[in-house]
Assembly symmetry: C2
């Protein structure tokens, strides 16, 4: 989804600035850590992950700043944006531990990499445990360091005071979303509301609304700007998650970069699955219950599931829901009190929910 935003005139420059801030910060941490004999693998893992990001949240943070009337991209805004990227790195590392994922962005996940590194003279079980422990700790450091980047961003006390509660809410809410996701996975259900709630907290609020609000707060946003940003962000964010759910099942792994069976094998509680269960006949329901979340799911079983997800009309309804949400977000932009440049960026982002392939 960042491909569209990253076509904006100053997006490439912003990504470069965010990368420079993160690299400078991690280089400093590496120097400090070396004095305590901390192995360089900690900062190396974070650098490898943080450098590979698409910078969606930093871009939205700067767009929020512009939407609230901020001009240019001052150093403090870039640093706040970089702190969001560090927070996201924390999310990725812990999510991968929880999901037991083997790879991320084409490379081994942090826990796998460190299980190999520290496991050479340990048994498999001990190696996996030390790898998971290191990944939990590196994630904890990334969470703590996202705070440190924010505290040292150079905001005035009044601005920091406005931003801290928003960042606190963002942290809690994405963790809530992940908690609901983790506890619901592997238990197929017809509860569409719960699936939408997970999408709202894990994606709509975390990925879209909070970065926009945080950037806007740095510019001293008015209540009208904040409200318009939320009215735009929530439908767009939900549309993104719905698109993700479809891509996770029907996408081309070479394009999406994620294995085609993972979501089905995990039995993720998505709107797509909930709708299919609602609309399934007895035979289809039995198949959905037996295959969704089955660790033994193979390509044939996945193909069978795809047929049911389409035949029940669930796939089509999710496409409709994406359309509806995109239209809703675009209507908000028609009357939102944003400067034109911000509106253009936000319009492109909403469009990309409809067309993206990865």
């Amino acid at each position: 989804m960042s491909t569209v935003i990253s076509e904006l005139p100053d997006a490439a420059a912003l990504c470069g600035h965010v990368t420079a801030v993160l690299e400078g910060f991690l280089a400093h941490k590496e120097t400090v850590g070396a004095k305590l004999r901390m192995p360089a693998e900690v900062t190396e893992c974070l650098r490898d992950l943080a450098v590979g990001g698409k910078r969606l949240r930093p871009l939205l943070c700067v767009t929020g700043w512009q939407a609230a009337g901020g001009r240019g991209t001052p150093e403090a805004v870039v640093r706040v944006a970089a702190s969001l990227e560090m927070f996201h790195t924390f999310c990725l590392i812990h999510d991968d531990v929880m999901d037991g994922s083997a790879s991320r962005r084409g490379a081994p996940t942090v826990h796998r990499r460190l299980a190999r590194h520290h496991g050479q003279d340990r048994g498999t079980f001990a190696a996996e445990r030390v790898g998971a422990s290191c990944a939990i700790l590196i994630g904890d450091l990334a969470l703590a360091w996202s705070g440190e980047l924010l505290h040292a961003a150079g905001l005035t006390p009044a601005r920091l005071d406005a931003v801290l509660p928003l960042v606190d809410d963002m942290r809690s809410e994405v963790m809530y979303g992940q908690y609901l996701d983790v506890t619901a996975a592997g238990r197929p259900s017809t509860d569409v509301d719960q699936a939408l709630r997970i999408a709202r907290y894990k994606t709509a609020k975390y990925t879209v609304e909070h970065p926009l609000h945080i950037g806007a707060a740095v510019a001293g946003a008015t209540p009208a700007v904040r409200e318009a940003l939320s009215a735009y962000a929530l439908p767009v964010g939900e549309a993104f998650q719905l698109r993700d759910d479809l891509l996770g099942v029907f996408g081309t792994p070479e394009v999406t970069g994620k294995p085609a069976l993972d979501d089905l094998r995990e039995g993720k509680h998505t709107v797509l699955a909930a709708l299919a269960l609602q609309r399934a006949d007895r035979e289809q329901r039995r198949t959905l219950h037996s295959l969704l979340g089955s660790p033994a799911l193979d390509a044939e079983g996945a193909a069978h599931l795809r047929v049911i997800l389409t035949a029940t009309g669930a796939r089509g309804e999710v496409e409709d829901m994406i359309q509806t949400r995109r239209a809703q977000a675009l209507r908000v932009l028609d009357t939102a009190p944003f400067p034109p440049a911000a509106t253009v960026s936000l319009r492109q982002l909403a469009d990309s929910a409809l067309v993206r392939a990865s």
Copy 2:
């Protein structure tokens, strides 16, 4: 070690205030969470853990405040102290996941409790995974919420500005200490410096120096006060860890509340073990290497290890190191620029390193 400090006149009252702040905060989180359909288990787990704490770090935080000339215990200081307790709750939950511990303070650990709760219709492996995932997330929430408690403590911007970098350092350093501990465990070595480094970061700085400094910063401590606090805190904190290491091996489980074999079975890299390996003869060294960190260690093997740890003189030398550090800390108090009440508390704390049994 808190038994001594908790005999101070206002310690019981302070513990009560900290508990009230934590309970109020968690009750609010529970109300907010219920609206998002978050299960109450999240706040219940945190409440059960946070209420059972000895409040050592909050007590030291208030002692630091007094050492720097603060009078009474204003609400803001109590809230900062409560945020340290919430941070410690995070540490306990993640440490227990990393160590795979079954119990904490006589009750099942968070990951065990939630594996049971969410695992009823899942297989053992899936139940353990969901339990660990929930515990990682509840720990993440406790870390985020320790920040929230601090941000909303009611500090002036100048005081918050002084406290935030100290809290940031505390977070990084205890995570560093834990990282060194986790990667060194199960690999017995003669490296006493590394064992002391782990003790310094995991205990001396985290448990003693940082809480004192943070409390002192709220009172606007002078550099002389800060230096004296560090000069006192580091030897006392190391002595505590050395005492812990001895209790972990030679203590009475009924008194220490922790199984007598855990430290030996984990193969924790302690000063005690490093000294024993340095001084062991060939036969003893072979036994140490084969039994320290062996998951199969039984009571007989542990008894054998205790004989070697004593016979090599390692146990005696660790006792001497505790004495030396206590004396060093007491000398600092003779000339430290603290008000008498703070000096009395700190003297009692140093004494307790020598005598405590749990």
